[in-house]
């Protein structure tokens, strides 16, 4: 699975990360592996679409964690 980070998160965790997760891992569980991915402020996308916290992740998925937008 590919995980993408942006803005201040990219500085902290790197821009992109390849990671294997156990079967049945959902978005909430993936968040919990990293410090500071608070669901209230950091939006999760799975394959470019906003994902529910209980969405189950598979090995071919791409997950992006987006901190609050600063705007253009």
């Amino acid at each position: 699975m590919i995980i993408g980070f942006y803005g201040r998160l990219a500085e902290r965790f790197g821009r992109e990360l390849e990671l294997d997760v156990p079967d049945g891992t959902d978005v909430a569980a993936l968040r919990a592996r990293f410090d500071g991915l608070d669901a209230a402020t950091v939006r999760a996308l799975v394959n470019d679409t906003t994902a529910r916290e209980d969405a189950i992740l598979g090995p071919g998925d791409r997950v992006d964690f987006l901190p609050p937008l600063s705007g253009g």
Partner: protein, 150 residues
């Protein structure tokens, strides 16, 4: 309404964007250029900006915002938005709207800038002499955005 919304990975020339913004039959073209300033809001000198972006969704957000300007009576709309490292004096954003009448062109550019300030998919870092800081939208940006019903 013709829509042209582009993410620019390198410096671009706003005057050329205006020149290329064909306004066949339009009576009114309004434009706005936002430039990288050399001072931050607190007055500190900044060396530049870094605008982080998503490889697909940032350009899509520009296109979606441009398309929303169909609420005005426009013949064409253009958005060009930089990403990456931007030096003071360089253009960050260029917006233009062409319409039969000037009120529609003015309102569209005003609307597009308010939308871009809150809804464009960017993460902005100000690089100053004393270090860098990631910026989040201000209350004033949110208030501007809230002037429009959608």
């Amino acid at each position: 309404m013709r829509i042209d919304a582009r993410l620019a990975h390198a410096a671009f020339d706003p005057a050329k964007e205006l020149a290329g913004f064909a306004a066949e039959g339009a009576g009114a073209v309004a434009s706005f250029t936002g430039l990288c300033r050399s001072t931050a809001k607190d007055g500190a000198t900044i060396a530049g900006l870094f605008l982080d972006h998503h490889p697909r969704l940032t350009e899509k957000s520009l296109h979606d915002i441009a398309a929303a300007a169909a609420r005005f009576e426009l013949s064409a709309v253009r958005i060009v938005h930089r990403c990456g490292s931007i030096a003071p004096g360089e253009a960050i954003v260029f917006v233009a709207a062409a319409a039969a009448h000037r009120r529609a062109a003015f309102d569209a550019v005003d609307y597009l800038m308010d939308r871009l300030k809150t809804d464009a998919l960017f993460w902005k870092r100000e690089d100053g002499v004393d270090g860098s800081a990631w910026i989040e939208p201000t209350e004033s940006d949110r208030a501007d955005r809230a002037r429009w019903s959608a």
